[in-house]
């Protein structure tokens, strides 16, 4: 197996990854979406499910992201994008917003990462190439959410592992990740290790393993990523 060939192989794009993430949202869930691909997931809520989106800056139940320049600057998500108001929306202060996060009211948190370890340790606050970091709300979300979903590319631009035995960067929280959604696979973090649940169309479990440092336990029911 050649690494170069695998790196060239077709992978899922950002929108498709977001679509797959959204499939995890259950009816009535309270969900926080981090910056980047996670935010896109709000566009793919499965039909018939009502989701309450929470944003760290103190809003619950907001609507879709507006077109640039069309929103109200006093109604933004944590990335600073203007969003639409929605019936049932409410605003809270910062301490209340994190009471929601830490107090067990947040069902799902979705964020990006630089590295995830086989134990589910998360490293996503130190920007590796700049050696500076920004913790922001990530630590509280990682500690507080009932389920933490990480969505990221499977390997770095240079083809280095991002799913690793041990994180090389300072961690945001230990043993916190439940599910990893990448551009080639869906991996569950369990007490017995990483379990490969789904692979992108055209990919084999062996190929996914080749780009993953720790050993993957292949689920006997492992199948192509289902989007609908």
């Amino acid at each position: 197996m050649k690494k170069e060939e695998l790196l060239q192989k077709e992978k899922l794009d950002r929108q498709i990854m977001a679509l797959r993430v959204a499939k995890e949202f259950q009816d009535g869930n309270v969900v926080n979406l981090g910056i980047g691909i996670p935010t896109l997931a709000s566009n793919f809520i499965p039909a018939g499910r009502e989701i309450i989106f929470h944003s760290e800056n103190g809003v619950l139940g907001y609507g879709e992201i507006t077109l640039p320049g069309e929103g109200d600057l006093d109604l933004v998500n944590a990335s600073g994008q203007t969003v639409k108001p929605a019936p049932g929306m409410c605003f809270v202060s910062h301490e209340e917003s994190f009471t929601v996060v830490r107090g067990g009211f947040l069902d799902i948190s979705v964020m990006g990462a630089y590295q995830v370890s086989e134990k589910g340790d998360l490293a996503n606050y130190m920007i590796p190439e700049r050696q500076v970091g920004t913790i922001g709300g990530a630590m509280d979300l990682a500690f507080g959410a009932k389920k933490l979903i990480i969505v990221m590319n499977h390997v770095t631009k240079d083809g280095n592992y991002r799913i690793v035995k041990k994180c090389a960067y300072p961690i945001t929280a230990p043993a916190c990740v439940d599910l990893i959604v990448t551009d080639i696979a869906i991996i569950e973090v369990t007490k017995k290790g990483l379990v490969l649940k789904e692979v992108a169309p055209g990919w084999t479990p062996e190929e996914v393993q080749f780009l993953t440092e720790p050993k993957l336990n292949v689920d006997p029911k492992c199948h192509d990523i289902e989007l609908m």
């Binding site: 944003s55 910062h94 920004t134 929280a173």
Partner: protein
Amino acid sequence: MPINKIVNSFEEAIADIEDGATIMVGGFGTVVSMPSLLLVALAKKKVKNITTVSNSTGFGPDVWALQGAKFPEDMDILVRNGLIKKAIVSAPVSAMYVNNFEKLLREGKVEIEMVPQGTLAERIRAAKAGLGGVYVPTGVGTVIEEGKEKKVIDGREYILELPIKADFALIHAYKGDRYGNLVYRGTSRTFNPTMAGAAKVTIAEVDEIVEPGELDPEAIVTPGVYVDRVVARPKEAAPRGPIVDVQAKESYKRYKAEMKKAQQKRGGKR
């Protein structure tokens, strides 16, 4: 004598802030949530060696002017004028943009204490509520726990986080009255009510001053007892319309239509 916390100018509002003060600055990342004109006044006074307590460290006025903000100065005005000695902050740098604070940080020209956002809110609240500290789970097993007391409560590990006290809290609100009662607008609430009352002196910059009684007592977010001074922005900037309006109604209509479609797809069963 009638209580009157209204001061007439931003210069007057911050006149007693001296070099070396610890200053909380409300808001989140966006400039509209921040006490922009109080920051401008502080920078004009050139109050040096300050310790700031805030969520972020600013992006600078160019970014916000592009978005059409009337008052585009954020924390960056303190950063680029070299007034900050130490920043107690949650989100000091951005993954998308290298701000002036990051440049100072690299040059070793500013000290930093990075605090998880929820912990920052709780440490500020502890100061305001007269608590000696709070045990929080966030940060256990990370760099945040270094040098802090740990305790197992009901089988879970916590670290002791101490209150953050300050000399001044500069906050922004939508409307206020002479008692200091405040309401906010949308997501520009954030750290503003959290910080109100957490410092020795709380100064609120508001879009509009209204008569006592005009603010619905059921809707007041910050009671006036937490606030010492209220100063209004120039009239032309205020007021703005309500957020929940036509857009929300449209969104509700669309939601109903989508639900109907989804139900039809499933054969009418919910």
